[in-house]
Symmetry: D3
Subunit: 250 residues, 6 copies
């Protein structure tokens, strides 16, 4: 459709967007689209056990994780910003949502990626998803002011971009039943490069490479065996939240 493609990724912690949506981000950038990542926290408490064990301070840990996330975003070709809301728990508030409303209006996303609404293993993920979804609706209303109270400005409201939930750990326990399988074969080298910007989680590099292979097998199986997709097809899985709008069934 007419809007300029713009991808917005709302991530609870600093690393989530790399593992879970790195392929979609790199693919969008490869197509010449803009991609923006918003990290609601750095994951400084819940996902930095080794740094705490090494005696790092809170500020050191946040700085470290920020630097890693910036490097990974650069490897994917995406812009990145940090709201620094704190994690474990990530606290929901109208003020945080208002800041996200500003992000939506500034970036005018045509596609939004975020976490699933259910995750028994990490409450920050659903909290991020709830705020991302609430802000998306508020940003559509001309009567809703910006976070600084500026009010109202017609040219800033957004349309109704589709939202996709990316894949959680232990997805079966998170009601994650993917209805979109994304072919990320061409984008995968960039995703791999971004993963390698996160050296503390080196064991995840092969985990997420293997996952991309398995999702690639499903891309091929659901497309049919005789359609000529190569054996090395790589994939990512998503749940589309709103109905798809299309001119063609395919």
């Amino acid at each position: 459709m007419a809007a300029t493609p713009s991808l917005l990724v709302i991530s609870a912690h600093a690393g989530d967007f790399v593992w879970r949506a790195g392929g979609a981000i790199a693919a969008a950038v490869l197509r010449g689209e803009r991609a923006t990542v918003v990290c609601l926290s750095f994951g400084e408490r819940g996902e930095s056990a080794s740094q705490w064990l090494a005696g790092k301070s809170l500020d050191e840990i946040k700085a470290l994780r920020r630097a890693e996330a910036e490097a990974a975003a650069a490897a994917l070709g995406a812009d990145i910003e940090f709201l620094d809301l704190g994690d474990y728990p990530l606290r929901e508030s109208p003020e945080a949502v208002a800041r996200l409303v500003d992000v939506y209006r500034r970036t005018q996303p045509t596609v939004v990626l975020t976490h699933t609404l259910t995750d028994p293993y990490n409450g920050d993920h659903p909290a991020a998803a709830r705020m991302a979804l609430q802000a998306r609706v508020l940003a559509q209303a001309i009567g809703v002011a910006g976070a600084d109270g500026s009010f109202p400005t017609t040219d800033e409201i957004i349309g109704a971009p589709p939202v996709f939930f990316f894949e959680p750990h232990q997805g079966e326990q998170c009601d994650f039943r993917p209805n979109v399988l994304l072919d990320i074969t061409d984008a995968f080298p960039h995703k791999r490069a971004a993963m390698e910007c996160l050296p503390a989680q080196k064991h995840m590099w092969s985990y997420y490479t293997d996952l991309a292979v398995r999702r690639g097998v499903q891309v091929r199986r659901n497309a049919g065996p005789n359609l000529g997709l190569p054996h090395e097809t790589m994939g990512e899985a998503y749940v589309r939240y709103y109905p798809q709008v299309t001119g063609v069934l395919e």
Copy 2:
């Protein structure tokens, strides 16, 4: 992808494909694709009350409904065939499924449309869907023979075409939660012409025109208010059964 587009519509009764999928069929034909409709029955017992009241015989009713369905298919630009399995109830059997396997292999569909798997108001619809889905899987296996026992022929097996369920009456009671909204604006005049080939159900013409308007409103709402879709957008709703395979999130 590489396969030549071919649309296969499996309909329990002679009229279902017109009301529920006429837009998708006409749109495919307008794009130059092939469309094939298979009617498992004529709807001679369950959907022909006025003819029974008028004293028509079973054979007369079947002939009448066949002629109407052929005219409607012609208006849409689709091929049509009839398996004449009987309705109310539509009886499932391995033999009927085998005939559908032959249809799949002959038409090599890239998209399949059929009924929902749940319908408390009409058991023939889920029965049709079960047979359509079973035949789709069997048709992929080289070891499965044709209905006449011919066996096995490599070049006939099919890929894994996506399946879409079309909209039932009283969809809320049928677990129909659409995840695809199809823009049928350009195709709608053809759908209307096909509906007018079914004069006995004249009250349905306006019902399904109104439904297309309402689904068109949802097309626009889910695409966002500022994307320039015209007010007269017409739509049809579908449930995609298998995950979507795509190279782009959009």
Copy 3:
């Protein structure tokens, strides 16, 4: 509404209607309505362990269970008939459904009671429900003949009576989430009398009396503490399958 009240109860085995719907049946009869019970089998194989252990023959067991069910129906004030389709497993067939179509047209039910569609402990129950629901739809169509092929007769087709599923054993495993709580206080003595017609299952008398007490507590709780329902309120629980049609929200 205008139709004469007529209750139809479709029961997989000879005793089910007593334990599960005896209160509803007796209440209808007390209001002067007609009630008809159809037992699809006698429960001769799956629910007659003590008779088999006592060395009874199949015919003896069937006769015994028929006699007990007739006595229980009499205690409730209901008509009863037996299709003798066999149990464990109860086999579904178009012929059995056609016989049920005849029952529907003959009794013109305004309310239908049957089993739940899910029961991991007894496959005969869902089979009975599937046949009861299919026959209800077929009986509405003028084009569907009777079981003897007689065809078609305008004055026999039925309306669309509401269907209620009665309470299974271990309801939580059967997706039984009741949305109707029936006050059977006045009818309970008749239900108790009917239960006492089934001496082989004497331990069930107190089980189902206790259940009626507990369901009665829920009747009172869901109606509110201050509405004056007596402490000895007795109840039965049901799931309404189709939406309720009403002129008043209450």
Copy 4:
């Protein structure tokens, strides 16, 4: 039952009760019952785009929407009050719930209508429903004080009135599967008059008239074709949240 009928409608924004429950409200008033509408906000930010575009101030918009809502309530014969909690987002708080507890105890509702608990298109609706449901439970407890701290007064606690969710936009995406179809034929002229008190949403008049027609068709279909309901039956759809308490299955 013994309580005097009293209908309480809890609406997130000023107009919701008209479109979604106007028939039920007018029908209750026609039966001589009391009806009270509580608007939690005016919908001043999220549902007043045209006023913002026309350069109106926040206070002007709130005054305008209050006046329209009052006129609509008068056309239905209902009392109306406004909590002015703000919208987009409607903020949940124990203080707002306490004010609703007071409303419950003052109006002693025998029936409650509110929004669905799920709505991906508008977070204010589920927020209203959550507060309505929480207040309903608190209002039953003698130990819970009023919003002003007054404490405790035996004669004020309420029973357990049934709750019905009214129909959202795009109900399929809101898990709206109606289990009650309300015949509003006689009340519809009053609903239409109330709708016409909201001139800014003139395009909704025909939308909701058409919806009433379609729900009326479902009223007739689920009641059966031969029960003599007129062709012009009008309807509204609801989801009953708690089990129905009844003395008769019908």
Copy 5:
């Protein structure tokens, strides 16, 4: 596995743990394990109607319920503590969760029991469950400080203990579909003794004794008729929230 068994029960109100988990608690104590009960509130507003009617003050009611709960815990052999967060409504907050994190780290539970996540009759129960689950995840992270800000201490983080939801009132309305049936035959006398420490709810003694009998019947039925479980088997039902980890399918 290697950890010392420690049972943690998180209860919204002072009495919940007795009725719903008394058997599991006593059974753990009989096996020589430690059991700790945390009452988030005393149930002073929502579950003390008779004391309010008798003119007791808030402090008197809280003291009374504390004494009863302590006696019941002693009868079961469990430790007990009270967070006094207030009830009706039980307010969720990060501070309350932080206090629970401390409890988790102090008691190092190997099994956790709490309420279901859904309860249309009492919002305090899901609120307690949400806090119990959130604290369980936070307590696993070395970067999460204690409630007093003490930070970080390696030896305090916990593992991932299984969580079981205990049985609510009107469980069918609470999505309570038990997947664990616990044999509490030997523990039942202790549960009964604990119930008798709550004289104000004397009518519950027989209710929960009967429930234990019925759950005991289900223990026997699901174990099979020929396994030699005695007729007087008593049971409690639970929902396991996370997947079971086991070395043996049984």
Copy 6:
């Protein structure tokens, strides 16, 4: 409990039990229990594409797959038998169920493993599960005769063994949400040896080895990080169908 452990695995095709339940089978055998595999078909049509392409006849393919399955069963230490019901489609019939009733009574299983009830990619799997579940219930009834009509024999009826569904391909599309994670570390070498008896599917060897590693990670995560399970823990995932009966929550 008192019964001698006996594991029964009901598999639609000849290879399913190896990939999906090989670990559970080998673990049972290592504990000294008996394990019996029943293959309902050889998978001769649906899962033997390479043999068909190589020009093998139906009988040759069946013989080949039988030999492979026998070798794999031997590697696991299990007995194996074949009902040869045909595949693609696997046809359900009362006669086939009666043969399974005989198997149940002969093997007296204390644990049953079979396919999931939903599988959009392979209809034979749910068909096998339906027959396995139906036979399990029938085998408990003394009134149900054997497949040869022998009737009735008290000592043959079975108890109510728990049933576990094993993991399908693309489990997310099959409603497979595992609630049991089985530690198969010690049994894995035997599973690997059994897999290597199926040389035509060599690419599956590494796929299922990797899956066992991933399920092993989940075993460790759900047991908690500090419980000392080794890094090389291997796992299989299951869905328990009936509630677990236990004396200890753990």
